[in-house]
Symmetry: C3
Subunit: 324 residues, 3 copies
């Protein structure tokens, strides 16, 4: 039986491709987060879940990504499933012989129950989903396109901490012009009520005016700032990303602003409230001081990554029809 077409998810995830955050509405997100909470609680109690016993997930990563690859691989195995894994298939597979992406996907679906793909080209995940006749595709990042499970795990982490995604003040810092992670997350947050977003970036790396207008129309309250001195003291979340030196036309501009884009213990003392969390999509390359790691509010290693695994476990359980 061929797959149904790509749908907007409500509460029914079974056999659906997961390509974009835009497929999700608010109830479907809450449904996914509840499933994740359940899976996390059971796993942490030491319960061995065998939901995916007898299932095989194909992981095909055309681009390096230890974090996402490891997270999905562990998610499958923690549920009792198995994987077949292809890293850099351009070097190790029929791709080297000139096979199209579509044919590769048609082959993989013969062996597996779900295909998890990372690809450097925007739109590749959709292409794969259209090629697959029988099994769902999960987009693990398609270049400058989307990386929906990253946004989902970030939202879940905030949801878990505050019990809701409504009525929050969230600060994003970094390169807001080019950062895919931030854009996805903003789209997801726009599905919730009464969210104030501070956007801390160099002036040359603010959100594009189109994106700003679009997010405001969707209901987010946006406040742009350019210096850490303007940071609010009541933010519930600091979501930090990297400002790449290479984005600046001249080095002096970079040197002038860079101190505003590094989380230090001092900055925390001055600007962070007690009951907040510091997040980062990782890898970091210097934009959060190591000394900050010990602060209990820094949860990028202690919760955020692990939540990625739990969220992917829940998503796989739902998509493969093993969870309701």
């Amino acid at each position: 039986m061929p797959k149904t077409k790509i749908l907007t998810l409500t509460e029914e995830f079974k056999a659906q491709d997961i390509l974009s955050l835009d497929q999700f509405d608010t109830p479907s997100l809450i449904h996914l987060f509840s499933a994740t909470l359940k899976i996390k609680a059971l796993t942490q109690k030491g319960k061995v879940l065998d939901l995916l016993k007898g299932n095989i997930a194909a992981l095909i990563f055309y681009e390096p990504s230890s974090r996402t690859f490891g997270s999905f691989s562990a998610a499958v195995k923690r549920l009792g499933g198995e994987t077949i894994e292809f890293q850099n298939p351009a070097q190790t597979s029929s791709v080297a012989k000139g096979e199209t992406l579509e044919d590769t996907i048609r082959t993989l679906e013969a062996y597996s129950d779900v295909i998890i793909m990372r690809h450097p080209e925007k739109g590749a995940a959709k292409k794969a989903a259209e090629a697959a006749f029988f099994v769902p595709i999960i987009n693990a990042g398609d270049g400058i396109g989307e990386h929906p499970t990253q946004a989902l795990l970030d939202m879940f982490t905030i949801y878990e901490k505050f019990g809701s995604l409504d009525n929050l003040t969230i600060l994003f810092a970094g390169d807001l012009l080019n950062g895919r992670t931030v854009h996805s997350l903003l789209r997801g947050l726009a599905l919730f009520q009464n969210i104030t977003v501070y956007l801390l970036s160099p002036k040359s790396l603010t959100l594009s005016r189109e994106d700003k207008t679009m997010f405001e129309r969707r209901g987010l309250k946006l406040i742009e700032i350019h210096n850490s001195l303007d940071m609010p003291k009541n933010a519930d979340v600091w979501y930090w990303t990297r400002v790449q030196k290479e984005r600046f036309k001249n080095l002096k501009d970079y040197e002038r602003v860079k101190h505003s884009f590094i989380v230090t213990t001092d900055l925390l003392k001055e600007r962070a409230k007690k009951n907040m969390i510091i997040m980062h999509p990782l890898p970091r390359v210097g934009e959060i001081e190591n000394a900050v790691d010990k602060d209990p509010r820094a949860i990028y290693f202690t919760s955020q990554i692990k939540n990625g695994m739990y969220l992917r476990m829940a998503l796989l359980g739902l998509v493969l029809g093993k969870l309701k």
Copy 2:
């Protein structure tokens, strides 16, 4: 207890190396195909087979092959077994330190219950089988040598469709001079009765005269043609392979004949009967139009690849003594 020597298989596969199609006689093929039908039926009913629980298969692939690698890996795991996997070991292993193939095999057999190997050199599988003291070797392709499981899965696919391998008309198209896949399959078909084979190739790429004589002596009825206009309308199977541009001395020759070596919906309308199947070993690079994929007679994606997995499951079950 050391392994026994490489044997001709009758119905006893246990602990045998699987190196060449020449090991098989007609009853052993039928035995393998019956086991494959059983495994396929059980798996498709959703039964989780644990035949290989506690067993480890070592997959060592000295050459890229996503299709065969994935198929074997999935086969082991669908039977409840585990794999240890080495892709491109020349870059990631002791091979880089100058170890002989024999020593590598002796090492792998210490960790595993069966070794599945692809290697670029003809004869490498036999070398490995002679080196291994305790565990069987399965040849997953040794350069221009053999790739027995490909021929076996092809034969099984025909057997499954027609209930028998006797009394069939089969058309092979492509480069019949150099194509390893075709040669193996012809050797296998020669074990059955009353088979007519049409051989469609450019004149410069016909079967060698030696091979032609040999296959005729083994009982195949061979008819050579060079143009799609001469194709019979009663073929039960079209087995299509690629004609490589590089094989032609001058480009004009290639341009003149190439249209005869591409399967199109038009060609199907003109030359194919209703109850036939179109097969291809894959990957394809243009020699079957994408539009053909939707034709129910096109089974390269829908049955052929999946049958590869089921056949390898049956073979592993038999070789490891878990199936009779």
Copy 3:
């Protein structure tokens, strides 16, 4: 709960990092070897052990090593556990994006219950152990530093053969100046009683004087020889390693001595007693003649490699608290 600090092991292995042979005292070694004997006996009887069911081991190998990689991977799987595997992560992961080793480890520990790491830099395993908050690190080789499980499996192999590690005569041959394997093993042997060690090496590649003094202080009786004619006839163990041509300043020196550093059937006839064993850490590149492999005293393929897997199974069981 954060991990405790790196401890000297007594009989309590649970949750401990395994970084160096120096962590072990005599009772802890005997404890590990007894556990290994038990695991080996059960596995060889065909018992499927599910000690690690529900556990995930992360294998991260920054350097090629088919032998150690395969051994650990098989060890985890033979115990019913699962792995997530990264070979050459510099090419396939966040390492390529400039992530520190510490951050990579913090990420991996979010997905796994134990991390097994090989790294080209001395001290990397200790660094990783300090970075990991929650899960133990097992050193699978850190450059010219240590490779403790190699020394442990070698000691276990001798222990299994002779029922004890006391009162033995052991011959080491090869490059004793640079050989990491030999140095580790000598350190381990020094924990036992009444051990005589013959050291056969070219004059330019003897143990450094410091090392010699150190090992003698620790109680080993050392006898240096430079020619196979001086080999004792009563050695219980020949532990053979490679003399690299490149270590010699001029080729003539190498040519003059090389015959003394190759095990041949003739050398065995002349110098080896009946109830002894020939060991090699592998890979070998010519320093043991292939004809020697058939001698029952040559156990590098038949016992030594396999013991590596069993020892790693026992170690994993102990460290993960599944064995006492």
